[in-house]
C-alpha cells in the first residue's frame, strides 16, 4: 500500500475536495442573480472542477 493510498490519506484528500467544493458552490450561489435548477446543476459541476483545480494548485505552491 502506497503512502498516498492509505485510508487516512484518501480520507484527507476527500475531505479537502469536499471542503473546496462546498466553498466554491456557496460562492456560486451568492454571485448568481436567480437561483433555479439549471444554475444549481451548473454551479455544482463548476465547483467540482474548481475543487480539483484548487487542490492541485494548493499542492503545487505548498511552501513546506
Amino acid at each position: 500500500m502506497d503512502r498516498r493510498t492509505t485510508p487516512r490519506a484518501v480520507l484527507l484528500a476527500a475531505g479537502e475536495l469536499l471542503a473546496w467544493w462546498a466553498a466554491l458552490a456557496l460562492l456560486w450561489l451568492v454571485l448568481i442573480t436567480t437561483v433555479d435548477t439549471l444554475e444549481r446543476v451548473v454551479g455544482a459541476s463548476a465547483a467540482a472542477a474548481g475543487a480539483l483545480l484548487a487542490r492541485a494548485g494548493r499542492r503545487a505552491v505548498r511552501w513546506r
Binding site: 460562492l27 450561489l29 451568492v30 454571485l31 442573480t33 437561483v35 511552501w63
Partner: protein, 150 residues
Amino acid sequence: MNGWILAATVELGGGGAAALWGVTTGPVARRVVAQNLTTAALCPALLLLAQGYGRPAYVDLALLLALLGPVGTLVFARLLHEDLEGRRPSAWGLTYAVAGVGAVVVIVVCAATGPGRAMVKLLVIGALLIGGNLIASRALSGGFQGVRGG
C-alpha cells in the same frame, strides 16, 4: 443625478484623477504604486454607480475589477522586479486611506441593499478589494522576500 451618482462622481473625479496623475508622471516606483491604488479608487465608484442606477448587475464590474486589479499589480511587481530592486515602493498612508474608503462604501451600499444574497456578494467584493489591495501593496514594497522571483 442622485446622491449615489454624485458620490461616485466625487470618487471618480478625486481618487480616479489623482491615480491617473500618479500613473502618468514621476519615477517608475511612484507610477506602480499609483497603478495599484487605481483599483481601490475606482471599484467603490462602480459600486456606487450600480446603486445609483438601480442595476444590481453592474456590481459584476466591481467584482471583476476587485479580482483582476491586484493580480495585475502582482504581474507588474514581477515584471519590474529589477527596476524596483532596493526601492521598496510603498504608500501605506494612502493604501489604508483608500481601503477605508472602500470599506465605508461597501458598508453603506450593504445597508441600502438590505440582508440577502446581494449583500453577501457585496461583502465578498469588499473583502476581495481590501484584501487584494493590501496583499498587492505588500508585494510591491518587497514584503514577500521568501517568494522566488519577487
